[in-house]
């Protein structure tokens, strides 16, 4: 009797193994729910991807460290436009990225659905309504892509970064069949965020007021600000955004008189300047892949001399900082939260080293080295 049972078990497990083997021989499609709430069927083996924003390349690189460009058959062209030094760093390491066909330039209106379809991607990875690529509102374009057999998947790093960044990375992991890499990233990301949020929850310090200036130097005067995008990262670091409740939507303009009357405790501007073109845009703050710490600080010092900003107490007393703007659309945004926390609550986060966090993230999750400066302070 016993021997019969043993044999049966072996037979059963053998049969199960055989079944499993046949199941793997025909890979089934995966059904995912994306960040726009859409249910999408994605092929199990994804080799041809369209990037709805060129700046999603670093996120993709988390899963394809050896060659992030190998799956990309088409991409939008805003990466090289908006973050030239960053793109240059990628192109130096992976020159084939220059040859990837562009299906549009910097704005969602320039997207060519005909070209996209002709390049036969299996999956199109798009970002939720950002203005720099096709969005969930472009129903006609989505309908055409889907009719041509392209699985359209939405991710998001900008509208709700703290919730959607891990979800987006997990979704990418499912779509690309790299769940393990996704989990590794998400775990690290969550841990780094928790370092800030947990300590804030315990210590409950008072939230200092902050004026967050949006894309310093882009418009002539003052005072563009955001409550969404980078503003959300700022909120997580225990700050009170002076524009909260005043701006409808994610970004807007404040009256400079209001700022002077309100006198926020801290000034933080976001930088969109590049060292190579700094002479053409002298009012921008130089941050990013080609920025040196000296250039970053000098450009911040210059930028806060503008009328309306120079008079703020925060600037006169040296509580002025700048952050790389493109953290608003990057899975490495947790590093910005840490830097904010360190500036706003220095005693609480004395031991925190955001630069080391970023360094580790690059080493573990990116095929390129960390180059450049991504934040700076008026008084280091």
């Amino acid at each position: 009797m016993l021997s019969f049972l043993l044999h049966a078990r072996r037979w059963l497990s053998g049969a199960l193994l055989a079944l499993a083997a046949t199941a793997q021989a025909q890979p089934a499609a995966v059904t995912v729910t994306d960040l726009a709430g859409r249910t999408v069927r994605v092929p199990a083996q994804v080799d041809r991807v369209l990037l709805g924003e060129g700046r999603l390349l670093p996120a993709l690189a988390v899963f394809d460290k050896d060659d992030p460009v190998r799956r990309v058959v088409a991409m939008m062209g805003e990466f090289e436009q908006l973050d030239a030094p960053g793109y240059a760093q990628w192109a130096r390491r992976f020159p084939q990225v220059d040859k990837v066909p562009r299906v549009g330039r910097g704005s969602s209106g320039s997207f060519s659905d005909e070209q996209a379809i002709a390049l036969r991607p299996q999956v199109a990875i798009l970002g939720l309504a950002g203005g720099h690529g096709p969005s969930e509102r472009d129903r006609e374009i989505l309908a055409r892509l889907e009719a041509a057999g392209v699985a359209v998947v939405f991710i998001d790093f900008r509208h709700d970064p703290l919730v959607n960044t891990p979800r987006s990375m997990q979704l990418l992991g499912e779509v690309l069949g790299k769940r393990a890499e996704a989990e590794a990233f998400v775990q690290f990301w969550r841990a780094q965020l928790a370092l800030v949020t947990q300590r804030l929850a315990q210590a409950r310090p008072e939230a200092p007021t902050v004026f967050l200036e949006n894309r310093v130097g882009l418009s002539e005067g003052c005072c563009d600000t955001m409550v969404g995008l980078v503003g959300k990262l700022l909120d997580a670091a225990g700050a009170r955004n002076v524009a909260q409740g005043l701006i409808p939507g994610e970004a807007g303009t404040l009256n400079p008189e209001f700022l002077i009357a309100r006198q926020p405790r801290y000034y933080i501007g976001t930088g969109i300047g590049a060292l190579a073109t700094a002479h053409k845009t002298p009012l921008r703050v130089v941050l990013g892949a080609d920025a040196t710490p000296e250039a970053a600080q000098a450009s911040l010092a210059r930028a806060v001399q503008r009328r309306g900003i120079a008079q703020l107490e925060a600037v006169r007393e040296g509580r002025a900082y700048a952050m790389w703007h493109h953290f608003y659309n990057s899975p490495f945004n947790v590093v910005a939260v840490q830097a904010f926390a360190k500036w706003l609550h220095p005693e609480l986060f004395a031991g925190l080293d955001p630069r080391a966090t970023l360094q580790t993230m690059y080493e573990r999750f990116q095929p390129i080295a960390l180059e450049g400066t991504y934040w700076t302070a008026l008084r280091p």
């Binding site: 562009r102 209106g109 060519s112 659905d113 002709a118 203005g131 374009i141 994610e250």
Partner: protein
């Protein structure tokens, strides 16, 4: 040859010119279908039209869901704007009249912006019709205002044109207000809407525009002789028993319907309603039996050509079509004006 026979030959020439315009339109349509960033060879295009199943899936989608809707929409919108412009220029006795002049485009833009800023959604026939419907409502509101003002204060040419210009400025100001309160995403959408784009063309929308065009074309055909009589002079037309003010108001109503429908689906496209009628007038004169269809054909030709240019001017990029019509329309208009002056 008797006078009647001479006239018959004269009219026959007009009909041949109309046919030539139609033939030219077929040619631009074919060229429009054959151009595009994916570089589909002409043979494949022809094969795909006759037997869709012969093409691989992507090419089939490109042909039937991208190129064909764009090309057909360009045709229909161009024809609508050309017809509307011709009727407006006659009704207002002003060669500079166009759907812009009465503030229709600005009103449509305000309507569209309101929908974008408010984030409204209205699903019908599987499309989000909130923006087109709002745009149409804006243009309809402008029309209603003009009709009310004209009915109350008199529908002479001067009054209507002045009301129209006042509305134009008012709606432009409202549009700026909308842009001011819009967040950056909405703002970008509004700006792109103002540049005109065929990218939102779907077969359902094409059906709608085609229906309205057909309806208005038949309707205007009934007034063709009355409008022709108007060209010899308003007093003269009145002396033949034509109710000139009523004719003007009804014509403007029809113009608004045509222009509003076309604009609400493709955004602001200028100069077609201005230049198309001038082209038709040069070729066909002002007998509205030929002038009206000629204007529609000329408008369709212009927009079809603009569609081709928008795809081929800068390789790899599709320029918004409103930019092309403005860039090409202005020198074309100048050339037409100079040609007329040299004749006279």
């Amino acid at each position: 040859m008797t006078l009647a026979a001479r006239y018959r030959r004269f009219a026959a020439l007009r009909r041949w010119l109309l046919a030539a315009l139609a033939a030219a339109l077929c040619a631009t349509l074919a060229l429009d279908l054959a151009t595009g960033p994916s570089g589909m060879p002409l043979a494949d295009v022809a094969a795909g039209l006759l037997r869709p199943a012969a093409l691989p899936l992507e090419q089939r989608i490109i042909l039937w869901e991208v190129r064909l809707p764009y090309a057909v929409m360009a045709l229909l919108v161009g024809a609508s704007l050309g017809l509307a412009g011709a009727e407006m220029q006659t009704a207002l006795n002003n060669p500079l009249a166009s759907p812009f002049t009465l503030g229709l485009s600005a009103a449509a833009a305000v309507g569209a912006s309101a929908a974008v800023v408010g984030g409204f959604t209205l699903m019908a026939f599987g499309e989000n019709l909130a923006v087109p419907l709002s745009a149409f409502a804006g243009a309809a509101a402008a029309t209603l205002l003009i009709q009310l003002l004209a009915w109350r204060y008199g529908a002479t040419v001067d009054t209507v044109v002045l009301f129209g210009i006042a509305l134009l400025f008012s709606f432009e100001a409202l549009l700026w207000l909308m842009q001011f309160i819009a967040d950056s995403n909405a703002l970008q959408q509004i700006v792109f809407w103002s540049m005109g784009s065929l990218a939102r063309a779907t077969w359902n929308k094409i059906g709608l525009v085609a229906c309205v065009l057909l309806l208005c074309a038949l309707w205007s055909a009934r007034s063709a002789w009355l409008l022709t009589a108007l060209r010899a002079g308003e007093d003269q037309a009145r002396s033949f028993g034509i109710a000139v003010e009523r004719l003007r108001l009804v014509t403007l109503l029809r113009v608004s319907l045509l222009a509003a429908t076309a604009l609400s689906f493709v955004g602001t496209i200028g100069f077609v309603g201005l230049v198309g009628p001038h082209m038709a007038r040069l070729l066909l004169g002002e007998d509205h039996r030929y002038y009206l269809p000629g204007s529609a054909l000329a408008g369709a030709l212009m927009l079809s050509g603009a569609s081709i240019l928008s795809k081929t001017l800068v390789p790899g990029v599709v320029l918004p079509i409103g930019i092309i019509t403005a860039l090409v329309g202005v020198p074309l208009f100048m050339a037409l004006v100079l040609a007329r002056r040299r004749d006279a």
